[in-house]
């Protein structure tokens, strides 16, 4: 996965035409859709990657418009000749990105001779009609409102495998409801006082090391807590959660010592 924002996927020329031992390239089939996803947010990249993989796409995820152009060979330095086998079937990009916006990336792609035919889909968390119109006018195939759902990606996917010009189908995603602007503060959270670590209940004796069949290296709890160990207790306190009530007061839910990691404010 493109955790570091770099290119995470082999180019088609490397995967399809390996000449070692006379390996033949597999026949072109539904699984051969290659999508280039562009988003500066790592969280969003992981999610869109998952959505695309579930719909049987190969995914390359990059963190900026510049990296996308670099990958496509459209940046000024690379000669495009060596990349004539690069196969990208869809480009899906976030709109708001630092440096180069999705709109600017769209324009550059549509200006290129090698990739102007590739459908480009824009994603945005903001439902701004002028923005949507501008992107569609510049040649975007579709405009998706974030957070993107599996249904959206499935729809895109089926449009790709159908050999129908997308301009005849629904071009604009019309969201059912516009994004509401929350002008009032949400109700304050239940007072969450910081209590000293009081996890004195002993862990259930049946806890055993990871023994599931498809055992991942880390359990969900460990994956979840390990990068943020500075915010949590270092000890692995397996506290049995008390029966949850409708209003979880701190005393009733397992207490985690939370250092209100000083964001410089008092």
């Amino acid at each position: 996965m493109a955790r570091d924002g770099g290119v995470s996927c082999l180019r088609s020329s490397e995967t399809m035409r390996v000449g070692i031992g006379g390996m033949e390239s597999p026949p072109l089939d539904l699984d051969d859709v290659h999508v280039l996803a562009v988003d500066d947010s790592l969280v969003d990249r992981i999610v869109i990657e998952r959505l695309l993989r579930i719909t049987s796409c190969k995914v390359t995820a990059v963190d900026s418009g510049w990296r996308a152009l670099e990958f496509l060979g459209l940046d000024n330095e690379k000669a495009s000749a060596e990349l004539d086998r690069l196969k990208v079937d869809l480009i899906i990009t976030d709109y708001c990105m630092p440096g180069m916006t999705g709109y600017e990336l769209l324009k550059k792609i549509k200006e290129s001779s090698s990739f102007r035919q590739v459908p480009v889909v824009i994603m945005s968390s903001e439902n701004v009609l002028t923005r949507i119109d501008r992107c569609l006018e510049e040649g975007a195939e579709d405009f998706l409102l974030k957070p993107v759902k599996l249904a959206d990606v499935k729809r895109l996917r089926s449009s790709l495998t159908r050999d129908v010009k997308l301009s005849n189908a629904n071009k604009r995603k019309l969201p059912e409801d516009s994004v509401p602007v929350n002008t009032s503060l949400p109700p304050p959270p239940s007072p969450f006082t910081i209590s000293p670590d009081s996890s004195d209940s002993s862990p259930p004796s049946t806890i055993s090391p990871e023994s599931s069949d498809s055992s991942p290296p880390l359990s969900p709890v460990e994956i979840f807590s390990s990068p943020l160990s500075s915010l949590l207790d270092d000890e692995d306190d397996d506290v049995l959660p008390s029966s949850p009530e409708s209003s979880p007061a701190p005393e009733e839910s397992p207490v985690r010592r939370q250092k209100m990691g000083s964001p410089g404010l008092d």
Binding site: D40, S41, L42, V43, D44, I46, V47, R50, L51, I54, P98, S125, K146, P147, K149, L150, V181, N182, T183, S184, L185, P186, P187, P188, P189, F192, P204, I207, S208, S212, S214, P216, L218, S219, P220, V221, I223, F224, S225, S226, P227, L228, L231, V239, L240, P241, S243, P244, S246, S247, P248, S253, P254, R256, Q258, M260, G261, P263, G264, L265
Partner: protein, 156 residues
Amino acid sequence: MDSLAAQLQMQYRNYILSLYQQGFLDDQFTELKSLQDDGSPDFVAEVLSLFFDDCVKLVGNMARALDQTGTVDFSQVGASVHQLKDSSSSVGAKRVKGLCITFKELCEAKNYEGCVRCLQQVDIEYKTLKAKLLDMFMFEKQIVQAGGIIPQVDIN
């Protein structure tokens, strides 16, 4: 053993429902859960872990930007708020997202004290959510260890 698993499952269901009812989570979280399967059993945990990393980083950025002696660059604060709004939206962190929407307006209004207060709330909110979700994962672990399967919770 069966009754322990069943009891845990019931508690788990109630716990999940309460998280939705209290507005901690919205249906984007449901969507994320639906993307998890046996082939990617830790998908939700991974995404959430990255989200909370984001929170730490972005809250730090906002705090630093607001801590400037002299003029505060509200657009810089706003940029981080925008990113956090997007991340929280993507994982279904409803309260955090709501706070970010308010926060964004405060940045645009260059309301310094409002921003500082809002930042404190954001800080509390994401940490609260993190604790709750950690409990959720603990529940799941215990259900599995008691020999049960993690129930799909229908929030409708």
